[in-house]
Assembly symmetry: C2
Amino acid sequence: MRLPWTPAFAGVTMKRTWQKKGRDALLKNIDPLLNADVLAALRAMGHGDRVVLCDTNFPADSVARQTVLGRLLRIDAADCPRAARAILSVMPLDSFVEDAAARMEVVGKPQEIPPVQKEVQQEVDRAEGKSWPMVSIERMAFYEHARKAYCVIASGERRFYGCFIFAKGVIPPDA
Amino acid sequence: MRLPWTPAFAGVTMKRTWQKKGRDALLKNIDPLLNADVLAALRAMGHGDRVVLCDTNFPADSVARQTVLGRLLRIDAADCPRAARAILSVMPLDSFVEDAAARMEVVGKPQEIPPVQKEVQQEVDRAEGKSWPMVSIERMAFYEHARKAYCVIASGERRFYGCFIFAKGVIPPDA
């Protein structure tokens, strides 16, 4: 039943309707950075469950083993802002709590917001369509908080303080 | 940090930007029928891998144990057309083969297309944005074919011959 592959046939493929819409996905409409394990975890999470997005210095595996999921998830091929964009493209933030989006405080400089956190803040605001300032959590408190999360996703971020916690919100029935 | 829940606060929630867009999902932009296990399987599948969508009389579990995934997936709360819509909302069909969408033939009446298959045909055409007629596969050959699939998804379909096989296509890099 298999047809021979030919450039002409490939040309037909390139004209598929959904491709004309500029979708960016390995599954239609889904960010390609969301691999099978990450997608399943985000879908399995319910209201109030939290996901930790961390950089490459964070004790990701040891913390992840204490979370609900119990094993580390990875979006290795992206920095934190890009990984945050992928996660928040499907996961609504929890509007019932003040700390639905949180960042790790710079040690000794709690007011400083390093570039990686500014960039993730832009992704948060973009995803929610409004200004949604992240709260900050002191480093050791952040670790405590992270252990209570549903899961941890390790990004490929090399910059320090690329550590965030997001709480999942709700999506109502269709009107 | 938790805020008390109040109707006024809930009102704020109802005005979220993404809700105004009429999205139908527990994750944003993703059909709510696609549970964590199903989403992970569809994402893990590659070009040419096949998914079986079956009714409640199909030997779903015994066939599923012989597939690549090795365990049965479920979209219990929907009939076949609705489940097909959910699956095809994220999974492109394989344009490289003629049998990317297939239905089980009615025994003794290979030309007959029962209503459940007509309805799924509409979902196939809708998802691909063009007429994409399903090929038919004789019942015993269908079982053989199904065992070679990546996975089996059992729907809640009660009508006979609600049995289909879809091959996954590709999504190109962004232009």
